[in-house]
Symmetry: C2
Subunit: 293 residues, 2 copies
DNA sequence: GCCCGGCCGTAAGCTGACCTGATGCTCGAC
DNA sequence: GTCGAGCATCAGGTCAGCTTACGGCCGGGC
C-alpha cells in the first residue's frame, strides 16, 4: 500500500519544485526527503521524478500520482475534521493568516469572540499577503486565511480550497477628487508582486494611464499618512479608511475588493474552522453597514 | 497525520468485529493489531473502541473514523490504479473469485484470453460462494469477483463496490415438468447460507410450498447427476445445464439469475480489472445466445 | 574560463517504531 | 468448575527511517 506521508512529500514537491524546499517545509534534511521519494518510487513501481539540471521535475506518472495524493490528503483531512467535530470542546491550534488591515480591524473582534466561546483553542495569527495564502494553506502552515479578489483583476479559485465570502468593499481614491486628476500625480504603490500592487495597476490602466510610482508602502496607514503629507495619491479599500488622518480626500471608485475566508477543502467540516468562519463573518458584518455603495 | 495502515486495521475491524479476525486477515498477531489500534486512538485523540464482554465494539467516533477510512483507502486504491494504468504492460497479481459453475464455463475462455493478451498478469482463481465475494473484495483477498442476484431475492448493492452486468439467465426446474408437480417431490438443496439455497427457498415459497430436502449438494453437476438418478428435483441456472446428463427434464421457470462482475470502487480504473471485465463479458456473450427467453 | 554556491544522491550509523512471544485477565460455554 | 476464546500489557529483537558526512552536477558571477 502506498504510504500517505510519502504521498504528502510528493504533493509538496509538485508545488514547491525542489526537494530542498520540501525539506525546509517539513523540517527534514534534503537527504531524508530524497530517500523517502526514492522509496515511494519503489512502491509505485514507476519513475516519478527525473533530474533536470540541478533540480528535479516530475514525470507524467509523478504528476498523476501527485494529483491522487491531493485526494488522499483531503480524505485524511476530512477524517481528522470528523474526529474534531466529535470531541467535546474545541481544542488544538488554529492558525489564521490575514492581510495587515484585516489584522487591525476584523481580527481583534473575531479573536475575542473565539477565545471567549472556545477557550481551548490555541489561536495564532500571521500577517501575510493574500497571494501567499493558498500556498500557506496547502503547506499546512495556515488553517484559515483571507484571500482577495478585485473585480478589476478577478482571481482564479484554487480547486484545493473552499472559501466563504467575508467582505465586499468599495475602493477609494485617496488624495485626488477624480482618477483623471490623479493621472499625472505621483503615486504611492505597494511592492510589486502583491495583489494590491497589481490591482492598482489594473485600475489605472483601465482609466487610460500608467501610474508614476514615487513611494512604495504596503501598509495602508502608512499610505494614508503619506497622502496626508501631500506626497502623492493612492487607492485604498474601505476597510483601511477607518482611521484616516484628517484632510485626506477620499473618493469612491467604481471598483470593489472582495475578501473571502479560505481553508483546505478537507477541513471544511472542522469545527474550529467553522467557528472561525462564523466569528469572522460576524466581525465583517459590523463593518459592512458603513460601506453601502 | 493519521496513518493509513492503521486506518485500514480499523476499517477491517469494523467489518470483522474482532481484533483476532483482523490479525488473521493481515497475518499479524492479535497483539500487534491491538497495539496499532491503541496508537490510532492516541493519534485520533478519542476512544475508538470499548471492550464489551470478551470482544470489542466500536464507539461512535470509531464508527465515524472507520467510514472515513473507507474513503481514504478508496483514494489510495485509485492512486494505485492510476499508476498501473500508466505502466507499460499489465503485470502483477489479479485474484478472481467465482462460483463453481462459472469457473467451469466462463472462466477458462476468459483466462485464456487474458493470459494471451497480457502475459505479465499473474492470474489466481478462487472458487467461492457469491455471498462471500463482497467481504473477500473488501478484505483484499480478491480483486474481482462474481456476485449474483435473483429477481425472486434481489440483493442490496454494496456501496464500496462497483460492478458491471455479466449474465442474465433463465432458471430451470430439473426433474419435474412443473413446479406444482415438484411440490411433493424430494428436493436437492444447496447448503443453507449460500445464495443458491435461499433463492430456491424463495422460489418454492412463492409457488406456495416448502421444499422437502433430501440431499444437499452445492455443485450443479452433482445436483444434475442426482436428479438423473431419480433422487429428487432441483432448480439450476442455465449456465449449469450445458453438460446435463441425458434423461433430465429441464423446464424453464419464470425466474432469472443475474450475474455481475464486482470490484472495489477504487480499482475501477485499474487496467487489469478493466481487462478482466471485458474478457469475462466476452466469454459471457458466447453463452448468452443459447439463453434467450 | 574558472570558481563558488546550491541542489541532489549515496553511505554509514544511530534512534525509535513495531512486531513477536509470553503472561495475565475477563467473559461465556459446556 | 473448567476450558477456551479474546484482549491488553510487557520485554525483547529487528528493521525502517532519520541525521551526518561526502561526492557529483549544474548554473551564475567575477
Amino acid at each position: 500500500m502506498l504510504d500517505a506521508s510519502r504521498l504528502r512529500l510528493l504533493h509538496d514537491l509538485s508545488r514547491l519544485g525542489t526537494i530542498a524546499a520540501v525539506a525546509r517545509l517539513r523540517t527534514y534534511t534534503p537527504s531524508a526527503v530524497s530517500q523517502q521519494l526514492a522509496a515511494l518510487e519503489r512502491e509505485a513501481g514507476a519513475a516519478l521524478l527525473t533530474r533536470t539540471g540541478r533540480t528535479v521535475t516530475l514525470t507524467a506518472a509523478g504528476r498523476a500520482l501527485a494529483g491522487h495524493a491531493a485526494t488522499v490528503l483531503a480524505a485524511l483531512d476530512e477524517a481528522e475534521a470528523a474526529l474534531a467535530a466529535l470531541r467535546e470542546g474545541l481544542t488544538g491550534p488554529l492558525r489564521i493568516g490575514a492581510y495587515p488591515s484585516a489584522v487591525r480591524t476584523l481580527l481583534p473582534a473575531a479573536l475575542v469572540d473565539l477565545a471567549r466561546d472556545h477557550p481551548g483553542l490555541d489561536l495564532t495569527v500571521t500577517e501575510l499577503d493574500p497571494v501567499a495564502v493558498p500556498a500557506a494553506l496547502a503547506d499546512r502552515t495556515l488553517d484559515v486565511g483571507l484571500i482577495q479578489d478585485y473585480d478589476v483583476a478577478p482571481g482564479i479559485p484554487d480547486p484545493a480550497l473552499g472559501s466563504r465570502p467575508l467582505l465586499d468593499e468599495t475602493i477609494h481614491l485617496a488624495g485626488a477628487p477624480t482618477l483623471a486628476a490623479a493621472a499625472g500625480a505621483p503615486w504611492i504603490l505597494a511592492t510589486p508582486g502583491t495583489l494590491c500592487h497589481t490591482a492598482t495597476l489594473h485600475l489605472c490602466r483601465s482609466a487610460g494611464f500608467e501610474p508614476r510610482a514615487r513611494h512604495h508602502a504596503d501598509d495602508f496607514a502608512t499610505v494614508l499618512a503619506l497622502v496626508a503629507a501631500g506626497q502623492g495619491v493612492s487607492v485604498v479599500p474601505h476597510l483601511a479608511t477607518a482611521g484616516a488622518p484628517p484632510g485626506v480626500t477620499l473618493t469612491p471608485l467604481p471598483a470593489r475588493r472582495r475578501t473571502r475566508i479560505a481553508y483546505r477543502r478537507g477541513t471544511a467540516g472542522h469545527p474550529a474552522v467553522a467557528a472561525c468562519v462564523t466569528a469572522l463573518q460576524a466581525a465583517a458584518a459590523a463593518y459592512l453597514p458603513q460601506d453601502r455603495p
